[in-house]
Symmetry: C6
Subunit: 189 residues, 6 copies
Amino acid sequence: TNDIYTKGHPTGVVVGLAWTSVGGDILFIETSLSRGKGGVTLTGNLGNVMKESATTALSYLKAHAADYGITYEQLEEMNVHVHVPEGAVPKDGPSAGITMFTSLASAFTGRKVKPYFAMTGEITLRGQVLPVGGIKEKMLAAKRAGIKDVILPAQNEKDVEEINKAYIKGMRFHYVTDVSQVLGLALAK
Amino acid sequence: TNDIYTKGHPTGVVVGLAWTSVGGDILFIETSLSRGKGGVTLTGNLGNVMKESATTALSYLKAHAADYGITYEQLEEMNVHVHVPEGAVPKDGPSAGITMFTSLASAFTGRKVKPYFAMTGEITLRGQVLPVGGIKEKMLAAKRAGIKDVILPAQNEKDVEEINKAYIKGMRFHYVTDVSQVLGLALAK
Amino acid sequence: TNDIYTKGHPTGVVVGLAWTSVGGDILFIETSLSRGKGGVTLTGNLGNVMKESATTALSYLKAHAADYGITYEQLEEMNVHVHVPEGAVPKDGPSAGITMFTSLASAFTGRKVKPYFAMTGEITLRGQVLPVGGIKEKMLAAKRAGIKDVILPAQNEKDVEEINKAYIKGMRFHYVTDVSQVLGLALAK
Amino acid sequence: TNDIYTKGHPTGVVVGLAWTSVGGDILFIETSLSRGKGGVTLTGNLGNVMKESATTALSYLKAHAADYGITYEQLEEMNVHVHVPEGAVPKDGPSAGITMFTSLASAFTGRKVKPYFAMTGEITLRGQVLPVGGIKEKMLAAKRAGIKDVILPAQNEKDVEEINKAYIKGMRFHYVTDVSQVLGLALAK
Amino acid sequence: TNDIYTKGHPTGVVVGLAWTSVGGDILFIETSLSRGKGGVTLTGNLGNVMKESATTALSYLKAHAADYGITYEQLEEMNVHVHVPEGAVPKDGPSAGITMFTSLASAFTGRKVKPYFAMTGEITLRGQVLPVGGIKEKMLAAKRAGIKDVILPAQNEKDVEEINKAYIKGMRFHYVTDVSQVLGLALAK
Amino acid sequence: TNDIYTKGHPTGVVVGLAWTSVGGDILFIETSLSRGKGGVTLTGNLGNVMKESATTALSYLKAHAADYGITYEQLEEMNVHVHVPEGAVPKDGPSAGITMFTSLASAFTGRKVKPYFAMTGEITLRGQVLPVGGIKEKMLAAKRAGIKDVILPAQNEKDVEEINKAYIKGMRFHYVTDVSQVLGLALAK
Ligand SMILES: [Ca+2]
Ligand SMILES: [Ca+2]
Ligand SMILES: [Ca+2]
Ligand SMILES: [Ca+2]
Ligand SMILES: [Ca+2]
Ligand SMILES: [Ca+2]
Ligand SMILES: [Ca+2]
Ligand SMILES: [Ca+2]
Ligand SMILES: [Ca+2]
Ligand SMILES: [Ca+2]
Ligand SMILES: [Ca+2]
Ligand SMILES: [Ca+2]
């Protein structure tokens, strides 16, 4: 039933991984841009920590805009909207940080994320990728959804190693310590 | 008593379907535009998720404005007001997403929705139509109100198939996966 | 003691009807304009639904301003203040919608409401007049206050017919389905 | 101990009357103006109804500014601050409405209130003066504070007549129905 | 341990007196100015009444700016920040009003407060100094901190007279009724 | 596992020390600048006191900008974002004041903090460094994280002296009374 998700997505759309009391799940981060004056809108029934995560990801992108070929004018003349579908489900926590960053970067650069790709990890303002919880549940959910590649925080490698190999067969895990490593892995040429 | 609703409506007015603890009901989404500076007003005793749904629908419309012949100037020089009548009744949830989108598109393009037409479905920022709850109750309410055509999420087709055919006789169901399919079905020429 | 209310009122003042746990009552909607930049102030210990009702009435007036001889410049260069006296009493609900609309229209056009005139009814953004509760209690309160003419939603006609004729002797009831019918009935020449 | 209050006050200062669970008391409404852009500040531990009362009084003054020789430029180029001293005491209710109005009018016109003068009464947006509670307690408090003249709502005359004459000996009561009567009584030449 | 406090302070720093459930204490009011557009920031874990107190003190200073040689341009082109140290301790109440005023006036005029000087008293918008609570506890705390001079409301003189003389030996008490008396006493030449 | 923290950090990143119910911990304060209009964003699940601490640190920096070679134009044309990583953990209190200040100063001057350096202390608006709690737990956490130099409030020297020397062997403690002493100690040449 989730196969609608696993095809290639338009720019600005990235698959994240959530961990709830009933197990892991995939979720989507969607960014859309429209002409405006630098306004930011965050929707999807998000708690404050998750909103701060998006704010931090956007600040990082702004501070490193030149590295990604994004101009100040682009940032200033667009409104940014980040949405996480399934509005009936409350969402919170910092673990979608690098997913938010990738979604924003994809929207501003016009480069798509590779198909069957997902990621999880907290982002800090200087670009560190911090470990997150629920790794086992998230990887099983990714597997169920047909995900082939997952970017994770280096500090979570030990959590992946504890998962029964049979459950995650065929998946590739990419461990990162800094958000600057993420786009090279996730964005299509 | 609801026959005042089932005649043709002015531009900006679309019939949605609600599901409450006491069963299904129809509701109206009304959009009106007035000269202004791009302000957005959302009224009708709406919860946060329903407000976010309208915000998401508007962002989608803005990001795809050119596809619908809407110019940036129109968006920038109008104030948008979306209202859901019956102010005494609290309303919430994401299921009016495509109804909100159609109401906004109707108001900005000046094209009316066909008579006896209703719809339900969550909208995402990239235009996916996600499944919603209460399909049986909503379809019975639509039938009672004289609705002939209903747009629904493709993932809800199975829910319609479980309804006793006698109850929804004469109704046509249009299943969609993307919001780009909605206006072609719902707007009059 | 309410006879101070039943004489002719200045422009912007309209008699509404309220229904509370202790019976019906008349109330006043007062609109005043002053030079400004289109600001809107709503006072009188109003709940959110009643405030949204005023917002909806104002949006309807703005969207149909040309029909009433109101220019965009008037709307843009005035501040609007809508007040409901008796600040110690909390007030809420959508039933003063057409009263709010009439008060705003009276203030902007400079035309007064006829004396001994009251009204009740929810307004929608496209101008429908929806039925309201407490009709019997409201009509008795209008009678006590010396009101001669009342505008009501067409869908409330059945509620008036259930009132003992002796209690509402000499009163005229005007049933409307659309707010466009209201001003012709209520405003003095 | 309150004799510091009963001497002549500077412009913008007016004596009001409060009614609390422990009896009546006098209070002061103070308005000060400073160069600015039309900002409004309300302080003194005021509840929402009392703040709305000040807002209503200011709107009335703005709508009738020309009658009092106040120009639009004065209103637009000043910041208004209304304060009610004794910040440790929460205050609320609409009964200081005409006192707020008089304080604002005194500040903008530069005319002082006569000494030994107090007032109480709700103001509406069209300038009606509505009756208030606690008349007996308020008049006794005024007497104790050395007040000689009190402006009251006409509808409260019956409440004054019920007070034992001995308690309010030497006081003059001025009954008003409209706020336009207040300044002529209260402001010094 | 508090001797760091009792030396001369830079401009904008004034010693106040607090009264809590565990006795009296000294506190500091610090004002700093920086180039800006008239913004006001209030920090230090302050309750609403204490914030209103600062707002009132600033309005008084603005309305009397000319008396203190402060120009409108200075007020308009500076941002004002008032801070009360020891952020872990919640603070509230109106009793630091004249201390706030003196801190603001010191910052804007560049004149320092004399060493070993403290003050307490509510300020009103017209400059009255109203009595405050906890005088005994505050004076003992001032004594412990090495304070030599204290400004107090005239109406609190009786409270000082009730303190055992031995406890406050060597301290000078300056009673004021109006805030205009404060700066002459407190500011160094 | 924390060794990723103890290498040299980019400009704007400073190690602070936290004290929670489960002991001491290090935390990071990160400041990033991007072109803008002087906006300030504070994230990291921060309580009000900690946010006020950042506001106070920024005001101090602005008021003393010239001392640090920072121009008004830099302050006015940049947006400042201060973030404290590990968004899942609520953080509060004033003890990161000097850490916030150092982070801001590092970002604006482009000078890095020396490696293996941490600090703790409340900042006041005039630049005093006030004592904080949890010194023992904080120093042990710093030791565990490989910190060599710690800046502390002078009033906390006694708390360090009570720690068993063996536990903090090889660490250097720098006691300060004023924030002006901090940058000379902490910033690399
Ligand atoms: Ca799901
Ligand atoms: Ca994620
Ligand atoms: Ca209904
Ligand atoms: Ca719907
Ligand atoms: Ca009444
Ligand atoms: Ca009504
Ligand atoms: Ca009193
Ligand atoms: Ca009063
Ligand atoms: Ca202390
Ligand atoms: Ca004080
Ligand atoms: Ca940690
Ligand atoms: Ca710290």
